[in-house]
Symmetry: C2
Subunit: 328 residues, 2 copies
Amino acid sequence: MRDLKREILTMVEKDLKEIEIALADNLNPYLDLVSDVAGHILFAGGKRLRPLLMVLSARICGYKGDYDKIFSTTFEYLHAATLLHDDLVDGAKLRRGKPVANSIWGNSTAVLVGDFLLARGLSIAAATGKLKVIKVIAGVTESMSQGEIHQLMRKGALDLTEAEYMEIIRRKTAVLFEGACRISAFIANASKKEEKAVSGYGYNMGMAFQMADDVKGSFWTSAASGKPEAGDIRKRKKTLPLVWALQHASEPDASRLREIYAAEATAPMSQPEVDEVLAILEGCGAHAEALGRARRYRDEALADLDALPIDPERRAEMRFLLESVIAI
Amino acid sequence: MRDLKREILTMVEKDLKEIEIALADNLNPYLDLVSDVAGHILFAGGKRLRPLLMVLSARICGYKGDYDKIFSTTFEYLHAATLLHDDLVDGAKLRRGKPVANSIWGNSTAVLVGDFLLARGLSIAAATGKLKVIKVIAGVTESMSQGEIHQLMRKGALDLTEAEYMEIIRRKTAVLFEGACRISAFIANASKKEEKAVSGYGYNMGMAFQMADDVKGSFWTSAASGKPEAGDIRKRKKTLPLVWALQHASEPDASRLREIYAAEATAPMSQPEVDEVLAILEGCGAHAEALGRARRYRDEALADLDALPIDPERRAEMRFLLESVIAI
């Protein structure tokens, strides 16, 4: 009997190996320092989700060429650039257990290497020879920077609305996933219908990914999520469960949340407060609501796949990717 | 009698007005904060040298369309992005007499608005509909970020060689000037020969511009240069006259320079030390050498113009631009 899951895993592992090689081969800096800093962020155990999404998506759109792995590096370089700039914005100390680049090489070098990675991503996008690819990349970069700025502007705001939250994650996360899929359709010369379906898949996956991340960052054990337990709460992050609870919990609960979250943002939240927040988020239904929304976007992504005229095995690959990434 | 200089000035003033309008019209952010921060750096009395260079260069290549001013904003957006990121790198307090953006809005916002401006520049470049335009923009951005990083790496180094200095200013400055001219040839559908000549003009102008800037920053009065007198010396910048003197002055002079420049870089240089440095740079011929080099690049740019099969009035415009910009 065929073990489809095993076959998919083997194929994805091969893709990931080739993506890894392409990431190292296409950086091309002339300064060793740029290799060091870019390598620090690029080769720190990232899941290569964005390039893998592009590679699988190109395959279901019928791409037969040899350049998909190279083109896919655009998305990892772009992502790495935003991580370098984000770590500076967030004032984080560690990323994936390693000191952040700006703490080792300084803010200036981190900013400039981020700029270099943006430019490399762009050069590789230009190598596709397709102008519409570039337009998507430029639009994604504009969108991501504005999403980041919007989030930063409203960092301490307890009146952040759900609509604003959705707009921020759309710009910060979903448009890049959507762009990776749309571009895969372009390089595969797919039909308009396929382009629309895979782009929708990418967009909905990006939205689900961010919301699932919010759920994991508040409610999952460290062993299950691979992140610090209740880390988003401890850091007073404005995640979907919190935003929803502030607007929908009973007035005493909402008022207590505002009180806890209004405290000096630099001091970590105490354990009793974390427990209290968790109890409120569970009690008012914020956990269930966030989980439900993430699942609805995941299901939308599955529906987009169903709209694609592809063979069942290709569909199984995309379903597998979605389910392993979202995993809620 | 015709007053050609007057006519050129009138035409350039009209170009500059249109560039100014295009810069405001094509920013298109969705957040007011982005308008504020980008506007702070974009509308602070910049000379619009890079877009003007593209507009004039497109005209001599025979461009007849209406989009030159819009396309030219790419170069000002790109330049403004690097200024936002540079001010953070340099730790400067003021730019053109105004507080730097990162001192008003914080490092994070300055970095992210810089990213937005890079992306806007790219979107506008993509609007030319020409893939080779994008390739030039991507290459220029890679080059500029690496030039900045190289400069930053060697900031305190007294053994910076002339070859390194040349490589840094080529990457940081000359490739953008060259790119503005090359792209003007692309959008004008100019011949290979014209492309080569205007690109050479841009490159040599960029090199001359940076060297002239070095001369002004060390030796010109504040009234003549519009900058703080001996400002580059006071800030211990590694400019061409200094780099040259460290390698070519007599051993006692070079040793004294090393002593003064090795002092704690955060403390401003004292006036007696500034005077001593000036005397050494004049005495060993470093001033004359830097001036001579800047003029040689300017003359190379003029020779590139002479290679262009254009009518004398167009040539007079480009010569006028070169001479007003370099002015040494």
